[in-house]
Symmetry: C2
């Protein structure tokens, strides 16, 4: 039988393959995850976005800069802290997020229909991934 350790390593392996497969077929830039975060969590600073997306702060700085260049987010100064910037979705960014979500989401949904799995199974998979990544205390995650 499969232990949870085996399953854990398979989860990572398959997740990597899924991401690449989707990226190949449907042009899924990394910045979309940031648009998604802003949509879910509201306006945030660069460092908070980096923590939420689990990347380094410089990586998020560059991603936000590119998103701003594309007009999908705007950066305004934080009135309460002159060091910080507040990143916010633009209408164009929200529209782009919708487009990309539809593209990748429909691909997965279509493929799911060809398997024996239910939508509930998909929801379970999403919940497992989210909760694995979710960290109540910032330093508590082992991932």
């Amino acid at each position: 039988m499969s232990t949870s350790v085996d399953l854990g390593s398979q989860l990572v392996t398959h997740a990597a393959r899924l991401v690449r497969a989707v990226r190949r077929r449907h042009d899924l830039p990394a910045g979309v995850r940031v648009l998604s975060l802003l949509d879910e969590l509201g306006d945030l600073g660069v460092t908070a976005l980096a923590r939420a997306d689990r990347c380094s702060q410089p990586t998020m700085s560059a991603t936000v800069r590119d998103l701003a260049d594309d007009g999908w987010v705007v950066k305004h100064p934080d009135p309460a802290d002159a060091r910080a910037t507040v990143v916010a979705l633009t209408p164009a960014g929200r529209a782009e997020l919708g487009r990309v979500r539809r593209r990748s989401g429909e691909a997965v949904a279509a493929r799911l229909a060809e398997t024996t799995h239910t939508v509930e199974d998909l929801a379970t998979a999403v919940a497992v991934l989210r909760d694995l990544l979710d960290h109540s205390d910032p330093e508590g995650s082992h991932l």
Copy 2:
């Protein structure tokens, strides 16, 4: 409520974050997936490996070359086809696979224990991912 399209796009987003999170903490090179394939499927050629890992043939050529440089696989000529090479795990490769599987697998397992999810949920997540990627007919995948 969540539609299967929403869930599909969330699956991709979270999968991407998981892969990056694990790579950051546990040095998980892409070649490990190839070791894993060889372990599961036995000796294979470069093109077959590329299809199984869902990457381009040149990408797999480079990955296999690097794995061979590290001594984790060997390439012998295919006796039945002079164009082809057969890639096979070495004992060192099998050991490395075990090490990496333990590292990433234990991280996921430990993190899972801090959530409300069961091992069955994790198994469901893995099965969903695998079946989404599984393609009976080679051109049938929409991912």
